[in-house]
Amino acid sequence: MATTATFTLTSADIAGDPVNVSKTATCTKAGATTDLDQTTGLNRVHLRSTTNKVLLAANAEGNDLSAKVYIINKATDPTLYLTVTINAQTIGKLYAGDWMFIPWSQTDTSADIEVAATNWTASTGDIPVEYALFHEDTDFLTNA
């Protein structure tokens, strides 16, 4: 069983010559060529909290293991963003249509991945968020 992630970046005009980057990674267990074998599947939630909510709960047992996280902001209003944090450390803001794909270490149980609809108001509507986790080890998640 294999999980692959292909990244493609293109621009015809950000530099004097076209920029094209293409990269495919096969998601494997830590330090091995064995494929990851567990996933949360693709999830969708509607976020309206301006304070942090746990999207993925960390478990310190995952510290030395492999995990890949995909998150996308499915809003269409370009001003609406999610603030993504790990253990209260802000990583960045996912504006409408933006996505991220990162490895996730769980250095301790505080290393939750949290999101907040920071500039949400009752008039903006909820922010749809889709996410997936690909990982190893049965005890990886707190609720496993």
Binding site: A5, F7, T8, Y70, P78, V84, I91, F101, P103
Partner: protein, 135 residues
């Protein structure tokens, strides 16, 4: 302003019904539909297991950027530990680990340019890291 698109295609047969996700985003300045206009592309060879500030906040003049980091190694046992925080001058005391990029792995994420992005090679034998920053 330039047009830059970043696409991902995820495919997995872990589950009985396969997962297939494809999305393309156009990179804009914060909260707008104005394209970005600055790109940095760097390849570095790191020769120790010390943590280094790979991308500093001072290298970007905005508060919203996108970062691509790639570990081009073909050795799956070699990894970079990626962290974000205020590492200071080589003192990794105030950083939060994001994750480990093993050989062949990449990551893509938005960066709010509040703190430096740091890497720590797992071995001291010439590990190459590639990164791009769009802002």
């Amino acid at each position: 302003m330039a047009t830059v698109t970043a696409a991902i295609a995820l495919s997995s047969d872990i589950t009985d019904s396969n997962i297939s996700v494809s999305n393309t985003s156009t990179l804009f300045t914060a909260g707008t539909t104005t394209g970005l206009d600055t790109m940095t592309s760097v390849t570095k060879v790191l020769k120790s297991t010390d943590q280094v500030d790979l991308i500093t906040t001072g290298s970007v003049s905005t508060t919203h950027a996108y970062v691509y980091i790639n570990n081009p190694s073909t050795d799956h046992t070699e990894y970079f530990t990626i962290a974000i925080g205020n590492a200071g001058a080589g003192t990794p005391t105030d950083t939060e680990e994001i994750g480990r990029l093993y050989g062949g792995d990449f990551m893509w994420f938005p960066w709010d340019v509040d703190d430096d992005i740091c890497v720590t090679p797992s071995v001291s034998t010439d590990m190459t890291v590639e990164y791009m920053v769009f802002s």
